[in-house]
Amino acid sequence: MSTDLNTDLLNNDLLNTDLPDDDLVNPVEPFLRTDRMPHIWCPGCGIGTTVNCFARALIESKIDLQSLALVSGIGCTGRVAGYVALDSFHTTHGRAIPFATGLKLANPKLNVVVYSGDGDLSAIGGNHLIHAARRNIDLKVICVNNLIYAMTGGQTAPTTPDHATTSTNPYGTFEPSFNLPHLVEAAGAVYVARWTTFHVRQLARAIGEAFQKKGFSFIEVISPCPTLYQRRNKLGDSLDTMKYYKAKSKVKNGAPTSEVGLTISGEIIVGKFVDRERPDYQSMMRAQYVDSLGDRFVEPMEAEVCS
């Protein structure tokens, strides 16, 4: 274990905030359903780290928690919805984005976060991902990319990089993988960033930035699944993965997303790749109705909520 890395990790650790000495409550605790602990995630799993960053971003951005809803699909990452003390929806495999779209359209005042895995969002849910980006629905999508279908035992995902071994490609994968930032940028996302679970401060900051954007925001978090991906590919444990993330990550804000594809042990380009303005779906919808209907247009919220 490199002491170097330990110091780095400590420096990055969210617990390392300015806590009053007499109060050792974890600052993210109010954001969690502590009555559901312990969680199901394996030791060394990166998902918990991303949740920590998410909570940190909520603290820092002072976002109104009452207006915040979180939607997950199915998978290890999909379990996030069950652990956050928010209005939270654990939906079906691949369909977090369309569920979130319904929430947002029926109550535009909600801040809607989609928190799910790479397989959920880009395989079974891939169609919804690109269409939500195209429409520029005002959603904040956090995609925990562990390069594998973890929940079901380590099968090949559309993100599994070149020749990695999985339970369904026991002799190594050979299909090309998705470069998710490139995909969502091409589809129309207004904010696209990638960080790893080593970059906890940057990740928390990116989530905070996404909250400031109106439109489809996508944050990819490269995250270890020591149990199924790292071990099967002889990439060591979680700490080894942190070393890898530290050694091979290169911050390139504004990098062309066509150049940020991942390989099994190569460089990981991280940073904020896209930050642009495009009218979001609801603004476009409203403008179109006002233009076409004039006085006959009635604002959706006036009649919609039936409670």
Partner: protein, 385 residues
């Protein structure tokens, strides 16, 4: 509660069943729909897309039915009354989310304007072959409510009823139209808003501290809260306890799944709607629903003119199946004649409920047209012997 007048197009109209269904949804208070075009159902959402921005609501055309069938549920949890509309192939794609709505107790309406199947089948022609799918199509044990209109007027009236039932029982309601009813144009009378009874959402009155999203109180239907109201609750399709938290024990599973089923079956008599005639003296009862009931009417009238003692039982509620009614009749009639545009789906239910005490004649039709009244008459004659 009375209907919001903004959604109610009071007056006499000459419209088809699809359009009438849309007006029923608007009158019921639906202000959100997500859909994907498919013949012969598309006119419902086309009309909704034109009407809803003028009454304060939203329509979105999604990328497929997988999306539409869950987008509408997001709308419900944000506080809207919501529905989707489809036909066979799309209905098949929606099955997982019908299960999700049943499991999460999301009040909503799925309209299926039935066409010939399987697969792409007969896109523009009628069938009634999704009746079992409506009941059993999603995996696992659950219960739904399904209604079958037989005229544009009923497409209006029963769509309101479908929304009301979905709210009362927190259950997905299947609105089982067919291509002929969807495309037939007739007079539809839309009453004034203050004559339309609306069942409001069963919203919780509990405090944020006390609220548990799946705790029942006296009856079998829990109270609901919406996102953004401060309850910070959890909803999952996993087996869950009263707090809404996942719980993987057989005990929790048993309690939940039985309640989901019982809340509907225990109210079956109250939910059951049917139209009946001449049942008192009947030897034979024609059991039909949807467009087939209109063809059957001719056969029944002719049979009675010929002196045959034929009764009519038209199912308006298909699910929960009104088996008590069939059971009662089975004790005193000789036979049931069940014409339907499928190879014998609801006939199985009639047969099951009759339990051998009356004969069941299943009069099948693979779809693409309707029965000829004389074919139904022939079976009535045979059954009367």
């Amino acid at each position: 509660m009375k209907a919001d007048p903004r959604g109610v197009l009071t007056g006499e109209h000459f419209i088809d069943g699809d359009h009438a269904c849309c007006e029923g949804a608007l009158a019921a208070g639906a202000r959100f729909a997500a859909g994907y075009p498919i013949t012969p159902s598309t006119e419902v959402v086309e009309r909704f897309a034109a009407r809803v921005p003028t009454v304060g609501g939203t329509f979105i055309q999604m990328e497929d039915e997988l999306a539409a069938s869950i987008t509408l549920q997001g709308g419900v949890w944000a506080g809207a009354k919501a529905f989707t509309v489809t036909s066979g192939p799309g209905f098949s794609l929606m099955m997982e989310h019908i299960g999700y709505a049943a499991m999460t107790e999301t009040p909503c309406v799925f309209v299926d304007v039935q066409r010939g199947g399987p697969s792409t089948g007969l896109p523009t022609l009628p069938a009634q072959a999704d009746m079992m799918q409506a009941r059993w199509g999603s995996h696992g044990d659950y219960a739904v409510i399904a209604l079958c209109p037989n005229s544009p007027q009923e497409c209006f009236d029963l769509t309101i009823k479908a929304f009301n039932l979905s709210e009362e029982f927190r259950v997905p309601v299947m609105f089982m139209m067919d291509e002929v009813v969807g495309h037939m144009t007739e007079k539809v009378v839309i009453p004034p808003a203050d004559q339309i009874e609306i069942v409001p959402r069963k919203h919780t009155k509990e405090s944020v501290e006390e609220f548990q999203p799946y705790k029942t109180n006296g009856d079998l239907v829990p109270e609901i809260a919406h996102a953004g109201e401060g309850y910070r609750f959890h909803v999952t399709g996993l087996t869950h306890d009263e707090r809404g938290y996942p719980n993987m024990t057989p005990q929790t599973q048993d309690k939940l799944v039985r309640r989901l089923q019982n809340k509907i079956t225990s109210a079956a008599d109250r939910i059951a709607m049917f139209e009946e005639a001449h049942l008192k003296d009947a030897d034979v009862v024609v059991v039909s629903y949807g467009i087939t009931s209109r063809v059957a009417q001719r056969a029944i009238d002719t049979a009675r003119e010929q002196g045959l003692r034929v009764g009519k039982l038209r199912l308006i509620t298909a699910w929960p199946f009104p088996e008590k009614k069939i059971r009662q009749l089975a004790g005193r009639v000789k036979a049931f004649v069940v014409p339907e545009l499928n190879l014998g789906q609801m006939a199985l239910e009639v047969e099951r409920a009759a339990a051998g005490r009356a004969k069941t004649f299943s009069l099948t039709h693979a779809g693409g047209g309707v029965h000829r009244p004389e074919d139904i008459l022939k079976v009535i004659v045979e059954a009367s012997r």
